[in-house]
């Protein structure tokens, strides 16, 4: 049960890598060469995956931009212009969902970056039990979100819950974590961090292990200490890992639904509603057009936040 991930295993894939330079020489440009290429690497290989992906993912995504402007029963759709969006932004409950989504994503990804980095530094140091610790921190990533949600809503119960009991020992009267409108959203976000920080940590560990030892030796030669090593070597050189962690946790945080739904159902009131839970509620109530408008808003929000991040990270990548 040792979480050992060597840099060689961290292949260069993932979000930050779109156009990939093939290892081999560029394909021949001659006429007959490209025909041979067409033959050997047949486009037919795309076909089965392409059909499923188009029907189940592309078509619904494209159609959502039509259905979002309709009053819709699944069987017939009546065009109503911007009505759904007007309603979305005029109802306080729906509008606050938008804001909560951003808060949730920022809090979870911020904490995952900071804690993931710290844990990775600790777990790549010469500490003896690091294998066990890595496993412990990582395991929640693989546990079902619903299971985690139910368990923590019990642990966070007011007064009698384990968390408040322990706080009581040191004289702190803990809040009603998920029952109080002021703390509900943040409490769920903290549980999300508990479950997800292991992924951030192993990503950082892969990043830290890929830093050549020479850099640390250079700091030694210059007489620098542990802090200099962290500040001047580890921190800047694990930037690709930071980018990956931020992107992944933002994408996950903005569309997060299961944990919120199992812990608070968006409540109390609407205090922990996010766009994804609003979509589900509107869907259940039969407002399909409105639910789809919520989907389009989420789409726009994700694109507006993630796409610039993505471009920025890719441009920074070059001068590393």
């Amino acid at each position: 049960m040792v979480t050992e991930s060597r840099p060689t295993e961290g292949r260069a894939v993932g979000l930050r890598d779109t156009a990939e330079p093939g290892r081999a020489a560029p394909p021949p440009r001659t006429r007959s060469g490209s025909r041979a290429l067409r033959h050997t690497y047949s486009s037919l290989f795309y076909l089965p995956a392409g059909v499923i992906y188009t029907v189940i993912f592309v078509v619904p995504t494209v159609m959502s931009f039509y259905f979002a402007f309709t009053r819709w029963t699944l069987f017939d759709a009546k065009f109503t212009g911007l009505d759904n969006f007007r309603q979305f932004f005029s109802e306080q409950a729906l509008r606050s969902g938008l804001w909560h989504t951003v808060v949730y994503a920022v809090v979870t990804s911020g904490l995952k970056v900071v804690l993931g980095m710290l844990l990775a530094v600790l777990l790549t140091s010469s500490i003896r039990v690091r294998g066990v610790l890595r496993s412990l921190v990582f395991f929640p990533v693989l546990v079902s979100t619903v299971a985690v949600g139910i368990t923590f809503s019990v642990l966070l119960a007011p007064d009698t819950g384990l968390v408040d009991t322990v706080l009581g020992w040191v004289g702190i009267s803990g809040p009603d974590w998920i029952g109080n409108p002021n703390t509900a959203l943040i409490s769920v976000a903290l549980v999300d961090v508990w479950k997800g920080v292991g992924l951030a940590t192993v990503i950082y560990i892969a990043g830290v292990l890929s830093i050549p030892q020479d850099y640390y030796e250079a700091v030694d030669v210059d007489g620098g200490g542990a802090w200099q090593k962290f500040r001047n070597v580890t921190l800047p050189l694990s930037r690709p890992a930071t980018f990956t962690v931020i992107l992944l946790s933002f994408i996950g945080g903005l569309r997060s639904f299961d944990l919120i739904w199992t812990m608070t159902k968006g409540g109390p009131g609407f205090s922990s509603d996010v766009i994804a839970s609003v979509i589900y509620k509107e869907y259940q109530a039969g407002f399909f057009g409105l639910a789809t408008a919520g989907n389009v808003i989420l789409f726009i929000l994700v694109t507006v936040i993630v796409y610039p991040l993505f471009r920025y990270f890719n441009s920074r990548e070059v001068d590393l």
Binding site: T18, Y46, P60, L133, F138, L142, F299
Partner: protein
């Protein structure tokens, strides 16, 4: 002196990790084996008696053996989806890497979109409805396949890049067709990444809650994650059974974790390091 401080730090780190990352699991286990009465107060305490077998029986027989059906559904869902994902995505990963061009660019863009864009839920239901697949297991399988593709294609594409093209050429000169080349020569070489894809996708799909909730609602068709959610309301007075269900649902990922931890981690961290 330094050694003592160091040891102190290590002990503290282990203690904090134990408290934060082990206690919640111990709590699950303890609550799962308590009697109904004792589980009701939801405190962290030692069970007064251990009706383990009885609780297991009760949780499986609840609601007309819903959990048995759910495990069956979840296993079919996971196995079929993952099998299809592996074959189709390996094929895409192969051509997308080997043959750059306009088509590959479009495919790359679609792969990327799949990672970023949140799926449009109700329009997907509309499509499935029109295909007659809404509220059916095959419909949900298609959804899991489509949503799992992007990540898997990325893993395969990166691995294909490390297989020399000379191999393709040699096979073609020997008279292999495009399909023999892929299925007889390339696909067997993709074994390591295939295992990684199988592991990561199995965990994702087995643990998936949102898609079954939307696309396969209803008790008779539940997946294991939905039983947790349904039991949460039904067993509001029988926490021992609810937590027994949680423990049962946690066992499959635990087994994969024990045997394949490294593989899973390497799959999930791919991309963290600049190649």
């Amino acid at each position: 002196m330094r050694g003592a401080r160091r040891l102190g730090l290590e002990v503290a780190a282990v203690a904090v990790a134990l408290v934060l990352f082990v206690i919640p699991f111990v709590f699950m286990l303890l609550t799962a084996v308590k009697t109904v009465d004792q589980s009701l107060d939801l405190t962290f305490s030692w069970p007064t008696s251990w009706p383990i077998v009885q609780n297991l029986k009760d949780v499986f027989s609840a609601r007309d053996y819903m959990l048995v059906t759910a495990f069956k559904n979840s296993i079919i869902l996971t196995v079929v989806s993952v099998a299809v994902i592996v074959v189709l995505c390996a094929m895409v990963g192969f051509v997308i890497q080997r043959r750059p061009g306009p088509l590959a660019n479009v495919a790359n863009l679609l792969v990327l979109s799949g990672l970023i864009i949140p799926p449009a839920i109700v329009p997907t239901i509309w499509v499935l409805q029109n295909l007659g697949l809404f509220k059916t297991l095959p419909g949900l399988i298609l959804v899991e396949i489509a949503f799992g593709m992007s990540f898997s294609v990325l893993l395969f594409r990166a691995f294909v890049a490390a297989i020399p093209r000379e191999l393709d050429e040699a096979a073609i000169i020997d008279g292999a067709s495009a399909f023999t080349l892929f299925f007889r020569v390339i696909f067997p070489l993709l074994r390591p990444v295939t295992i990684t894809v199988i592991l990561t996708q199995s965990v994702f799909i087995f643990n998936d809650f949102v898609n079954p909730l939307y696309f396969l609602p209803g008790d008779e068709n539940a997946t294991v994650q939905l039983t947790l959610f349904n039991f949460q309301s039904q067993f509001s007075t029988q926490y021992n059974l609810l937590f027994m269900d949680i423990v049962l649902v946690t066992i499959p990922p635990l087994i994969l974790f024990i045997f394949f931890n490294r593989k899973i981690v390497s799959g999930l961290t791919a991309g963290a390091v600049k190649g």
